[in-house]
């Protein structure tokens, strides 16, 4: 098939065409993806080197005040203006020194060992009890060190910026230009620098509650923080790549569990995403069909199930489908064999996918009904003239249209399902337990396994490794598909 015939193809052929294109381009796109990734990393380092080079240049070009500004941040700005800028740089420096002295240094000194002081126990005769000198808390040392390092990084950026600004101030002074006033700065924050205003608070929140915890989590993967090395009673320390080796074959049962669960995780996310999607769309089409009455009522019925909190409905489902649940009670009443919906591995997997349909279809129904209304009706009319029946026009027009329009949504859904904690945890809790998996059940996803490892078994190091691997899988999946789908979309013109 050649691209020039593209506009003459029917919708169905277009889908085939795109699918073939997709797979044909897969190796190419993968290569491109890694090239871009490599470039980005290289860029990052080049930027750092450039930063240092600039830094040196600034020093050599500066006069004595600018040179002194390397020690007293913002000095040139204070002398030549803008005064507010110099003052804020200076305050940043003071705060930073206080921070290092009062907080960071206490933890950073132990970062390489994660603490050495073990617990000391002595008997106090007078009180009649034991007394303890508490051990170093490796976890807090690690966490606060990460916090300190992030603050230091931010400070370094501010520091380099300050030297630049000081040189600028000096140059402005030499050229006898007016410095930017405080008012002008405020005004620019509302206009050409509005993105700084908009992004500052979200970025700060993200650094505190996402970035720092993430770095902490990633670092845990290189320690031996498990049930046998738990703070506060015990110290843990760095072990390098040992945990990764365990997962990739050194420890047979752990690596088997990982592969087993990864496989199920992928199967699950595939079915959970696409079945929900297609069936939800069919439901939306049925409700939206001309001549069907009570559209609002039908829609509301399904919306109600969204409104009941998911943890309630899923827990109910687990009670209804349990071995002695309502469904089995009914089966028994009619003299039928009861079904181990959630206690047999294979059945449980199927049941989970079906229950997830119950949860997910109303959502897809809502989303796709909006899109379905936007499909130009000429498409259908021309199809009808060609004698296409309902099924044909569904496969040739509706499905391709909606599919292409919602690719990004599908990807987020897929990744969301890959990490779908709620459905599994509330419905089966990962069970039934398996005799061949390491602390995991037949229906556990990688995330629920990770959760169990931390909460029930305190195997934080292993859990971190899994967290990192889960991330690698979902991030590369979505970045690749995103880049590809955007390139597909550009040539894709339905309207």
């Amino acid at each position: 098939m050649k691209a020039k015939n593209y506009h003459m193809m029917s919708g169905y052929q277009k889908v085939i065409y795109h699918l073939s294109l997709f797979f044909k381009n897969l190796p190419h796109n993968l290569k491109k993806f890694f090239k871009i990734l490599g470039k980005a990393i290289a860029c990052f380092f080049i930027r750092i080197v450039e930063g240092f080079a600039n830094f040196g240049r600034t020093f050599s070009e500066g006069n004595k005040f600018t040179k002194l500004s390397f020690l007293i941040m913002g000095l040139s700005c204070l002398i030549y203006g803008p005064f507010w800028m110099g003052l804020s740089f200076f305050l940043i420096e003071i705060l930073f020194i206080l921070f290092i002295k009062e907080f960071a240094i206490l933890y950073l000194v132990d970062l390489t060992t994660l603490g050495t002081q073990a617990e000391v126990e002595t008997f106090n005769e007078a009180k009649g009890i034991m007394e303890y000198i508490t051990a170093d808390n490796s976890m807090l040392i690690l966490l606060y060190s990460v916090l300190s390092l992030v603050v230091i990084c931010i400070f370094i950026i501010a520091y380099i910026q300050s030297t630049k600004e000081c040189l600028n101030a000096q140059h402005r002074h030499e050229r006898e230009e007016q410095a930017q006033s405080f008012k002008m700065m405020l005004r620019s924050l509302k206009d050409e620098n509005y993105h700084i205003t908009l992004l500052s608070i979200p970025t700060l929140l993200l650094i505190c509650f996402t970035v720092i915890p993430l770095i902490f989590m990633i670092l845990l993967a290189f320690t031996n923080y498990d049930a046998n090395h738990q703070p506060p009673g015990n110290l843990f320390t760095w072990v390098g790549f040992g945990n990764f080796k365990d997962i990739f074959g050194k420890n047979a049962i752990k690596s088997y569990t990982f592969l087993y669960l990864l496989q199920w995780d992928l199967i699950w996310s595939f079915f959970a995403t696409f079945l929900n999607y297609i069936l939800g769309m069919i439901l939306a089409m049925m409700i939206n069909k001309k001549g069907i009455r009570g559209k609002k009522i039908w829609r509301t019925i399904f919306v109600i199930t969204i409104a009941v909190p998911q943890f309630v409905t899923l827990l109910l489902m687990s009670k209804i489908l349990g071995d002695n649940g309502t469904v089995n009670l009914i089966l028994e009443r009619f003299g039928l064999q009861t079904i181990p919906f959630l206690t047999d591995g294979h059945t449980a997997r199927i049941v989970i996918i079906i229950v997830n349909l119950w949860v997910g279809i109303p959502y897809t129904m809502l989303i796709t009904s909006g899109i379905l209304m936007n499909i130009p009706s000429e498409l259908y009319e021309s199809a009808k003239i060609d004698g296409a029946n309902a099924a044909v026009s569904f496969f040739k027009i509706t499905l391709p249209y909606v599919l292409f329009v919602t690719t990004p949504y599908l990807i987020t859904q897929f990744v969301g399902n890959f990490n779908n904690f709620n459905v599994i945890y509330l419905l089966t809790g990962g069970g039934p337990q398996s005799t061949v998996l390491y602390q995991a059940g037949e229906t556990d996803l990688l995330v629920t396994w990770l959760y169990k490892l931390t909460i029930n078994y305190q195997d934080y190091n292993l859990a971190s490794v899994i967290g990192i691997l889960v991330f690698v899988v979902s991030a590369s999946l979505s970045l690749i598909v995103f880049n590809m789908s955007s390139s597909v979309k550009n040539e894709e013109q339905f309207q």
Partner: protein, 284 residues
């Protein structure tokens, strides 16, 4: 010819009605089951009969009278308070971030967006423990503020759908007003926001609902402090093994009561929800 066409259409419609009815029964039956159980007089999660033998309203009344252990009304208030603040803060943040990515062009915009996409993909559980200790270091331990902060910070990564929505709005309008001398901040507040009612409602609705649904993070933050619990954590506690027998029917009653306001919200704003999400998710 025309008659048979009409008849076949009638038949297909009939089949559709049947399918819809069957599906509606399937979809509603767990909820009906929940309702029935909330009126059940016998204790415990498991009864040998399909319908309870005794019917009672006491499951509902006891939620509000026996409050010394499980303080349902207080949980309701807590959750409402957290939900209102989270809703305001995170709606603002999400819209700000989305507008920024959609309309403003600045250095490293793409990098920021990709970073946001990537950060959202780490499984959250591992980080929760770290978040807990960071909050503790800030002295925000076991407080509602900490929950509001964390819910709002998570929202900063949810720019995807609103950004898609903003992308679809015609750019000519705001470009014209910038030429007329409006600042970008004015464009955002006076032009974009008023045009984006569906997406504003959509973001507000989803962020308002988040605190009602999250049980895992809230329970990690609040631990044993029952009076600070949110609805979801409290209800979840009722189903723990040792409370199940005594509290199962009350759990059902509590769940029914929580669902009512959410259902009303959903039904009222359904249209906006559809418009918002459909508009936003179609454009990447």
């Amino acid at each position: 010819m025309k008659k048979s066409y009409k008849r076949s259409r009638k038949i297909t419609n009939g089949i559709i009605y049947i399918i819809l009815t069957v599906m509606a029964i399937f979809w509603l039956s767990p909820i009906v089951w929940l309702l029935i159980r909330s009126f059940q007089g016998e204790k415990g999660a498991w009864i040998t009969t399909l319908l309870p033998k005794q019917w009672t309203l006491s499951n509902y009344t006891r939620l509000f009278t026996q409050t010394d252990m499980f303080n349902y009304p207080l949980w309701f208030l807590n959750t409402f308070k957290i939900a209102v603040f989270t809703c305001i803060i995170s709606t603002l943040l999400i819209l700000m971030v989305s507008y920024c990515y959609s309309r403003l062009r600045f250095k490293s915009r793409k990098a920021f967006m990709n970073l946001g996409l990537v950060l959202g993909m780490f499984p959250g559980f591992m980080t929760m423990i770290a978040i807990y200790h960071i909050l503790k270091a800030f002295g925000l331990y076991q407080s509602h503020i900490s929950l509001i902060l964390v819910y709002s910070s998570g929202a900063c990564l949810a720019y995807f759908i609103p950004k898609g929505f903003f992308d679809m709005l015609p750019r000519s309008m705001d470009e014209a007003s910038i030429i007329d001398g409006a600042t970008r901040s004015q464009v955002f507040w006076k032009i974009i926001i008023p045009m984006s009612k569906p997406i504003v409602v959509y973001t507000a609705l989803t962020s308002f609902l988040a605190p009602w649904l999250d049980f895992i993070f809230a329970s990690i933050i609040m631990k044993d402090n029952y009076d600070k619990y949110t609805m979801a954590v409290g209800l979840f506690k009722m189903l723990e093994r040792e409370n199940l027998y005594e509290y199962f029917t009350r759990f059902c009653a509590g769940a029914v009561l929580v669902s009512i306001p959410i259902t009303i919200l959903f039904i009222c704003f359904q249209g906006y929800y559809v418009e918002g999400v459909a508009g936003g998710s179609t454009k990447g």
